[in-house]
């Protein structure tokens, strides 16, 4: 019931932020159906950075920096609801633990990682040290892991911890530039990142540390999301969503919205939640 807003068809699709809008591109197996791309949410005047999807309640969550806040809306065209509006300076990445019903976000001015229930209650700071420019954050709910990137120009890194902030470790720190985008594919247990400094896309198994390059020559990756064999990232230079076939190690498609301005966060909205048990369920 909003302007230029359309209920989403069933099936998996991509959600990404561009200039006060959250856009949607349906996926036909792995192909972006560019002709059916639509605006799910139009928030004129807002600058939306991070987007995340809750597959249980079919809600999209986003961070916004003009009046720093975290909000959510049903992707079938529901009205936006403010979840967090105080004590935020520059919220960027956001991630949902669809099993534990919590959300995590980075704040690049407070240099914090915080957690709260999906309604904004039970909020607390999870990580508040050794962060300079925290950006992307992602969850691996079945294993209870959290991953985030920090593009600190002097010492960029990718880190992990449990979802309660304990067992924090640096996973990657060498040969990084500006690791803006991060994604975790639970099927292959691969953590992948897109770097706007080295212009590379790389992946590794967080447990094994077997880092490998997927692609070189990316232009300016910002957000990133994995779906099956594909990885999709937003590019600041091309103002486009770029699809990369992980196995063929090459770009397979590009979607350039009509509006020519920067694209920010991107996430995969699954038709159904991935199967998997909460790591706490057995305990």
């Amino acid at each position: 019931p909003r302007p230029d807003v359309h209920p989403l068809p069933s099936g998996t699709h991509l959600l990404f932020a561009q200039s006060g809008r959250i856009e949607h591109v349906p996926l036909d197996s792995y192909d972006m159906k560019s002709d059916d791309a639509k605006t799910v949410l139009h928030l004129p005047g807002k600058v939306i950075i991070g987007v995340a999807y809750d597959c249980v309640e079919k809600m999209v969550y986003w961070t916004e920096i003009t009046s720093p806040s975290i909000s959510k809306a049903n992707i079938q065209g529901g009205d936006p609801v403010n979840v967090i509006r105080s004590d935020l300076d520059s919220p960027e990445g956001i991630a949902i633990d669809y099993l534990g019903r919590t959300m995590f976000w980075t704040d690049s001015v407070r240099d914090h990682i915080e957690v709260a229930s999906l309604d904004g209650s039970q909020r607390r700071v999870l990580i508040d040290s050794d962060l300079v420019n925290p950006r992307s954050i992602i969850t691996d709910p079945p294993n209870g892991n959290l991953y985030w990137s920090d593009w600190n120009r002097d010492a960029p890194k990718i880190e992990t911890s449990y979802m309660d902030g304990s067992n924090r470790r640096v996973l990657v720190k060498d040969d990084l530039g500006l690791p803006n985008g991060l994604t975790y594919d639970s099927q292959s247990s691969l953590l992948c990142w897109a770097d706007a400094g080295t212009h590379k896309m790389e992946c590794m198994h967080p447990d094994r540390g077997d880092r490998r390059k997927i692609m070189e020559g990316l232009q300016y990756p910002f957000g990133m999301t994995a779906f099956g064999k594909n990885i999709y990232y937003t590019d600041w230079r091309r103002n486009a969503v770029v699809a990369v076939d992980r196995y063929a190690a090459k770009e397979s498609d590009e979607f350039q919205p009509q509006k020519r301005t920067k694209l920010y966060g991107i996430t995969t909205a699954y038709a159904q939640c991935p199967s998997g048990q909460n790591y706490c369920a057995a305990n």
Partner: protein
Amino acid sequence: DATQGTVDDCSPCPCPTGATCAVVPKTREVVCTNCPVGTTGKRCELCDDGFFGDPLGESGAVRTCRVCKCSDNIDPNAVGNCDRETGECLKCIYNTDGFFCDRCKDGFYGNAMAANTADKCKPCSCSVFGTVGGQLSCSQVTGQCPCLPNVSQRDCSACELGFFNLQSGSGCERCNCNPIGSTD
């Protein structure tokens, strides 16, 4: 409303040339949906992230959207670098501060506008013992910390010649050496 059958059924979009618009069904509000490059907002009255201006002249003269002007003291990989209307810089780096990241932030001194980042803003590092009130800030330009009596150096870290006991925290005391038995 194109179904009323009058010449006024369709009104032009209240948007800059080239933009399209839509009506919010609930409120009947008209919102521009395809603002020109660099602009955004209900009426394309705002600048995109990383730009500032007043493209419709809503609060004065028309100022087209321009890239944030922050004395080269912002990082292009950051988001929300300046206020989209006033241009006030919000994410100064290299220890700079101010509307245009044009001065050193408190506790730092030097030349925020220097071309070389190493020459920009250095920490005052005022001596806790030799500085008035244990102050941590210094002169923006020279870096001189406010020294207690008989304390010298830029960072107030030493006693003047003929004085001792910097650690007292209330300035240095005269040595009172006997001129006959002392060298220097």
